[in-house]
Structures are given as structure tokens and as C-alpha cells.
Point group: C2
Chain length 430, copies 2
Amino acid sequence: MAQAGDRVKINTKKGSEEGILMPSSDKKTILLKLDSGYNAGFDNKDVSNITVLAKAAAKKKVMAKITQNPDLPTIAILHTGGTIASKVDYRTGAVASEFSPEELLSLFPELKNIANLESELISQMWSDDLRFAHFSLIAKAIERQVKKGVKGIIIGMGTDNLAVASAALSFIVEKSPVPIVFVGAQRSSDRGSSDAGMNLICAAEFVTRTDFGGVAICMHESSSDKTCVILPGTKTYKLHSSRRDAFKAINSSALASVDYKTMEIKYLGNSYQKRADTLSLKPKMEEKIGLLKIHINMFPEQFSFFKGYKGLIIEGTGLGHTPGQAPNKESAIHKEIYPALKKLIDSGCVIVMTTQCLFGGVNMNIYDKGRDLLELGVLSGKDLLANTALVKLSWLLGNHSREETKELVGQNLRGEINERLQFEEDFVKK
Amino acid sequence: MAQAGDRVKINTKKGSEEGILMPSSDKKTILLKLDSGYNAGFDNKDVSNITVLAKAAAKKKVMAKITQNPDLPTIAILHTGGTIASKVDYRTGAVASEFSPEELLSLFPELKNIANLESELISQMWSDDLRFAHFSLIAKAIERQVKKGVKGIIIGMGTDNLAVASAALSFIVEKSPVPIVFVGAQRSSDRGSSDAGMNLICAAEFVTRTDFGGVAICMHESSSDKTCVILPGTKTYKLHSSRRDAFKAINSSALASVDYKTMEIKYLGNSYQKRADTLSLKPKMEEKIGLLKIHINMFPEQFSFFKGYKGLIIEGTGLGHTPGQAPNKESAIHKEIYPALKKLIDSGCVIVMTTQCLFGGVNMNIYDKGRDLLELGVLSGKDLLANTALVKLSWLLGNHSREETKELVGQNLRGEINERLQFEEDFVKK
């Protein structure tokens, strides 16, 4: 019988396919890793037979031997799970996490020329299951590593919510003696096209040598393996679901680039936060914060749902708009939307407007819709990304009064807001 | 006393500002159009005094005289409101809608060299107040104009939801003897930097001369006034809140460009729908469809809220993921999310996954999270934009059974889905 890791040929109604049989979480699906590197699922009932072309090779694990090099600095790699930390073990069929320094060096031997490694497992999860409480765990691990005297910290995480985690830690870490750089991978390290190694190695070079002392992200700059970019912690978005250069700065630009061949670090002209003398953390977050994306044909109860929430981010249209006017009978139901918003605000919910356009920002003074919402008490999030606004509001309400929060949410604290947006050139940075 | 339209100087605590006094919808705010063209709001209580520098000039309306030119084709311009159809009348302080053919020709005299005009007011509203029911009104107007024998149809609309309206009409119009092109403006026609005229004129040239018979969008290609692009009806996104070149094709490219100087139409190599012999419309839409954007720290009730909805679009993370696993005690609450989704699906709600990455698409076969969701009965929306998925699902459920809808939602009907996504070059088209 075919087992995970075997090279197989399957025959289906539509034809035959070859690939490596993958472990599948349900019995209805047969999963193949095709030669292109992509996985394809086939309904078991459509598959007439499976032929084993080659059995999986027995895997022999060779561990790198660690010798501390006194000439090199020590850095810490914190693991939270995600593609960067995982590798399908075709022999057992399990997704294995590789995270001890020995295992990391076996996977990426170049690391031993850059730094001595500390390694710590915080959790083993997809970033989709992150909650605000996890950021406290990460903050505690940062504190432990800074106490050990490491020169820099790398946090491995799944890419789906890597940018929102980096935004959250940007607020939590008020100042730091070491750079804290999030690294993910869009392709797992068992694929030829994996970006895990290059992202990790460029991040290790960067945190070892930079005087930057803030929170940032290190990922591929383009679809080639030439450079990684160090992206701003609060202004980055995963703009592609599968490409390795998916992460882009929004209304901002990368802080630096790292050449994978020469390891040259090029600072891109922006001022940045320097290493501080000591670490200062404020890890408290308010739990009850919502996010509501605006779309056409909404119902008033989609707004009043957030009764009891301490804060709400609205991802509005354009310059920061919602439905709420009833210029004709087709939109009569919209008459109930502004009263629903007013009720939330009167009950103490802090509501902040952002824009689903991604680029550009909110300006609620231009159209009467925006002015109506300001009048109700909705606050302008300026050019805050919706996800950055979500963690900022949670963090502010965790550490400040409601009135202080209302003052601070529209102020630039960690590079998350541009007070003046100027775009002369093309706005999408490639 | 200063009146709307006057050039004034105001003194505030922070300094003084000059500009044109704008009509303001509330008494607490004084609104100035600064010389930069942008509006700025000032709290009335912070303003110590207002000096009138120059009174508003009395406005004399000169109407173009219409003479039908038998050598030119006739096109129809349908108005639904928005920036393109509005102009602040500084004399009366009201936002005036200009929409009769005479008024259009007064504003944009070049139009009379392109075509004879029919004009029809459908509504006067911001696109944020669109509901599915408005698309029927637009479809009826299209039917009337096609019966009159026009050569092409232009629909003026607010930009906030222009792309979702073009997607809705793409499904409603099964085939058409004329092109239907949506046009908006990011800056109103009373501003020097207005894009209203150029977008309208390029659209008029295009609908008059093309053999295209589908639904599309005509907007600025870049920040200069050189070319407009004809963007695909179902694959376009407003990617900037204020720039004139805000609209971009996602996982796709423009169908054609129109040179504003030479009026040369350049087709960009994609195949497109040709003019048909007759018009065929299916305007029915299902009303009860929701859209839920995924973020971290969600609560299960954000999912179960959609009980009773006939359809739900999830804007997931990455390749199409939601929270739903509880690998540690911090995410224990996530255990209730998959059961909440299962309950919705069992009650008959059709749930379709899209991605908030915008670029790339959903592939739920790669990670166990995606496979778990497929197993629950969540359908892959492939590379459907979330807003396109919203109107597609509403349209499918309005015209098909639930079972047929589940079959059709992942099939490409109007260019809304790429069966194979291939990105060798940079993915963001400028």
C-alpha cells in the first residue's frame, strides 16, 4: 500500500497524475505534491488506483554539532510555528517542527558563520490562531532573551498574521536594546523554492550588525533570491497569498535591504529607531475589540452586533465612509445605521475609521458622509492599516483610559501614521 | 458675514489659514477649500474670527446649445450620483448635480465632437448607499437605452463602490450589443486636478468606437493626464483612497488604454467579450448575503451572527484561512468557531472563501487549515475578489438553486476567476 512520502501515480476519471503522496487530514482526499511543488487534492472516490513508483527513502537525520564561537555575537530565534518552522517528514507523515539550535544549523548551516544561536519555542501554531494574549508570551520571551544579553531577536511565525503581530509588538515594545525582526516563509523548507533559509539568514545578518532597535519584518524583496527587505513593523501588508515577495510597505517604504550574496545592508534613507539602553515593555491588551469591513447591502444589525465591545475598527470605503443615508426607497434600511453607530459610541465603544483601499488614508472632511460620521463621534484612523489599528486600539485601551485612547489613536506613536501623505510617484512599491 | 464661496482668512489658536469657505453640514465645523485643492475642517470654537478677503463671484450659467449631428453615433450617460456628477455651487452652497445633456456639454464641450448624448438620472446618491436593488434600476435603464439604439452606455457613479457595481452588472448583463462602461471621478469638477472630464471623454471615445460588448471601468491609468485604462468589470479594485489612478486590475490587466491626446485606443492583448446581437439581462439578486473579514482575536459569535443568511463571503487570510484551532489555552475559544461555521452550512448558508491578500488566490489544499474548512463545506472562491464574490453569490442565489450555486460559484462566468494563476513578473501592475 502507498504511504506518505512514496512517489506514486494515480489514475482518475480525468487522467493520471504523478507526485509524492502527502499526509492528508481526511480520508476523502488524496493529496499529491506535484513536481511543480504545489499540492493537489483528489477526491478518493474519483481515484481508480494508485501505483507506487518509488518508496520513500528512509531519512537519516544528521545533526550539526554546535561549537560556540567566542568571536561571534549571540542571537535568539523564537518560534511560534508556521511554515518557516515546519517541514513535512515524509517518512512519518507528520509535520515536524525544527527548532533546536542543532536542528536549525542542520537545516541552515550558514547560520553558524553569522552568530551563536539561542532558540526558544513559544508555541507551535498557525498565526491564524493568534490572540492578543499570545503577544504577552512573546514579550516575556523577548525579556528573557534580552536578559541573557543577545544581540538581536528573530521571531519565526506563520505569514498569514505576521504583519499584525509585528504591529502589536511595535506598540508593546516601547524601547529595546536589540532589534526584533519577524520572519516567515511562503514556501516550506522541503520545497526547492523555499524562502525560509534566505529570509532567516538575511534577518540574522541584519539583527547582528544593525543599530536599529525597533520591530520590523524581513522577507523577500522580489521574486528572485537577490535581496530581502526590512519592512516597517506597523505599515506592512501581506499583499499576495502565495508569492515569496508578498509583503509590501503601505504608504511607506522598506527601512533597509539585505543582499543575500554579499550580505551588504543598505539603509533606504528613512530615519529609524536606534537601539536603546534598556528594554521597556507594555504588554497589556484589551480583549474586546472588533473589526467590521464595510460593503454594499449591509444590515444595521451588522453594526449593533458590537454592543459591549470596548473598541471597533471600521474598514470603510474610500476616504472613510459607510452606508447610512437613504436617498431613495431602495436604501431606506440605511436610516438605522447611523443611530446604531451612535448607540455604540454612547455606550462607550471607541470607533476608529480606516480604509479598505489600503493605500492612501482616511480623510473625513471632504464629503458630507465623512463629516456626518465625525459628528457621530467616529474617529479618523488617518492612514492606519486596519490590522494595525486593531492592535493599536487594543493596546491603547489596555494601558490608557478611554479619553486618553481617543486622543492617542490618531497620533503617530510607532511610525504607524503619516501626518502628511505625499505621493508624487507611483504609489505601489514593487 | 462670510458666505460659502467667499475667499476668507480664519484665525485659530494655531495660526491663520486662507481659502474658499465651503458649505458645511454641521455648525460646529468651518470648512475651507485650501489653495492646494484639499478641504480642511476647523472646529468653530477654535476659530477666533473670519475675514472675508473676496466675495464669491456671481455665477452665470451658459448652456451649450444642442444640435444633433447626424454623422455621429448616439451614446447614453446614466447618472447615479457621486463625485463625477457633482459640483459645489459656491453661490448657493449646494452640491449641484449636472446631468442634462445641455449641462454635460457645458461642462465638457469636447463631448459634442464624439457623440450625440442621451442622459438619464437613475439616482442621486453616494455609492456607499448602493444596495443590490439598485442594480435592477440600472439594468432597466440599460434596457431602455439599448431599445433607443444607442451605440454605447456610460454609467457615472461614486468611486467608493464603483468596482463592486461593475462586477454586479457584469453578472446581470449576460450579453449586450453595446459596451457598458462605469466612470467615476476622484476629484470633483470644480478642482483643477479633476479627473471627471478626461475619464468621461475617454469613456465616450471608447464606447463609440470599440467592438467590446461587456462591462468595464474607465479611469486614469497614472497620475498624469496621458491615458485612461479600460479595466475588467469583475477584477478591479480601488487601491488608493484619493489618487486619480486608484483603480487597478487585480490578478488581471487592463483590456485597453485610451490616449487622451490622440484618442488612440490600444487593446492590450487580452481576449474580450464582443458586442452581441441582442441584450440579455438577469437582474435578480438574493438580498441576504453577508461578508466577514477575518482578523486575529475573533469571537465565535462573529460567525454565528450570520444565522439566517443565505450566503456568506469570508475574506480569509493568506490562502483562505480562519481561526479555528486551539493549540494552546490562549486560543481555547477558537474551538467553537468550526462548529459555528458547520451550523451555518447545515442550515443552508452557502459559504465562500476569498483572501484579504487581494493578489493571488485561495488554495485550501496546501495547509491543514484549508483542508479542515473544505471538509466543513466552505467553498473555495479561488481568486475572486471579496466584493466580486459578494455580488456573484447574491446573483447566483437570485437565479439558481442552492446546489447549482455551489457548482457555479467556483466556475469562471465573466472573467472573474483565473483557473490558473501564473505570475512570473511583478504582480502589482502600475
